[in-house]
Symmetry: C2
Subunit: 346 residues, 2 copies
Amino acid sequence: MDIKSKRIAILSPVAWRTPPRAYGAWETVAGNITEGLVARGWKDVTLFATKESVTTAKLEGWVERGYEEDKSQIPLVSTCLHISKVMERSGEFDLIHNNFDYLPLTYLPLITTPMLTTIHGFSDPDILRVYHDHKDTYYVSISDSDRDPGLPYLATVYNGIDLSNLTFREAPGDKLVHYGRIHNDKGTHLAIEVAKKCGMDLIIAGIIQDQAYFDTLIKPHLNLSSIQYIGPVNPVQRDALLKEAYAVIHLNLIPERFGLVMAESMAAGVPVIAMDLGSCREVIADKRTGYLVKNVDEAVEAIGKIDRIDRNTCRHHVEENFTIDRMVAGYEKVYAEIFRREAQKK
Amino acid sequence: MDIKSKRIAILSPVAWRTPPRAYGAWETVAGNITEGLVARGWKDVTLFATKESVTTAKLEGWVERGYEEDKSQIPLVSTCLHISKVMERSGEFDLIHNNFDYLPLTYLPLITTPMLTTIHGFSDPDILRVYHDHKDTYYVSISDSDRDPGLPYLATVYNGIDLSNLTFREAPGDKLVHYGRIHNDKGTHLAIEVAKKCGMDLIIAGIIQDQAYFDTLIKPHLNLSSIQYIGPVNPVQRDALLKEAYAVIHLNLIPERFGLVMAESMAAGVPVIAMDLGSCREVIADKRTGYLVKNVDEAVEAIGKIDRIDRNTCRHHVEENFTIDRMVAGYEKVYAEIFRREAQKK
């Protein structure tokens, strides 16, 4: 049987629409996997996502809108209903590809369809209890650095990004840009420090994930000209934002799990200055597509060397490593290995 | 087959130990059901609860300690692991009796063992989405008032309490008592108003569920003599507390679902003055075991009529309606009905 005729269920979260209107990293990747499989000729792909989601695959949904977009929902209610609908219909699929964290694992002993779980991040060490309780299943990590040593991974498959709204521009902008979720973890306040020390303008974009952090460490520095916050950006707005960018400042304070922002920036030709934590050294080619730094002073120093970075190299680095097609090619190998192992069991 | 040979799994929550050390209403009831079944001659009862739980039935646990007693746990991690272990072993039981809210329902389509869910309360209207998605299963309400009109209930089974640490005392104490969880819903601040208007002493006991509520509306009124807060009480401490009670003040501001506190108080011979909301009129016999009131002034007036209440009547009312044995007799009828319906399906 042609492997591309296998029936694949892609389980996306229901925090946001798939693909998300603005923020929603896991939904973005789940959507990209779905579209990528269809583009590469997979014939029977079903996306389980919010009902208002958009896909060229078959769409199945139980929850009307994402619980982050409709706050009348209790997140766990939508989550467990959504997950259980996939499980209830598991017999209709040859593989469930779970992109929705640990809860789906707890239904595994009750179904016979194999499941692949892409671990998009460990939000807390305690969730490892669920993973460690389910070692007889299939896992993929999104970077070599974001792995738990106790889990049996089949592979690392880097996230792939949709290049269609990421225009490559040879000419750099004249501002620093920082975007993503506004949170201490992402070091938004450090981007402000860098901008001030360099005397450059800074544009900040993204959802405010920690309002107290924003109010105390970000808001007091905002002004109409040199340091602006423009709110969340959709892909079209993001493209316009990156046009302004001399460099993207990404001084994350916790290990990055993958770092979609870095890949997107490089796709637009924008070099990235990132904290050398977690996956950053897997996503950025140090000194070729940006600079890995250890603190604000090194970031300031790196700004002075941005003109040594060839913006074409940034774009090519993404095209070779972080496209949807590359990601889905990676998952195809993983799916094939799963089908091989499952066939051996029978 | 003797119905009492059927294999019953009682699913208790894992927020607290079963039975709880102090607070833990659902664990209290689940524990009482378990012990009551054993006492009435059921031969194969398994309690699924925290590993440190105490029972005369078989104990199965996955989570060492309750997540409310060990804050290093993410509640959902412990919850889903605990529930999934029951589901994984569902084939070993003839009936699962779920006392752990809505999440277990989402595993139902994947198992064949029937499940009875006692709905201990709807914490939010949104959780009805899960219940309404699972109408082909069995439900019990804990009072006639705490019912959703869209659900197919088999019966109301009132909670039964363990009388072993509830000493009946003919002679009243000279203080007002308010206990339970300290929260606006339970009207702790109204108990203080009543005490002040009557010029009587008040003892408050229970866990602080809303610290801001406690700090602003309760704490400022506390003093060493007339209005005291003594913290949570275990069953032995509760018995000593009720010895002091002239009446228990229970001016709940939301409909009571059942009201263990009211039953416990009456068991000790203590009349209860309760807000006429929800199940209170099902638990209290108005003017015979206490008074149903609509506000603080009516409660103050009721204090003046407490001597018309016969404390023996309070005790007998509990013995006739709210003992563990009465509760389990009620569940035996429900179990029998479930087995009858399941046999018809085959």
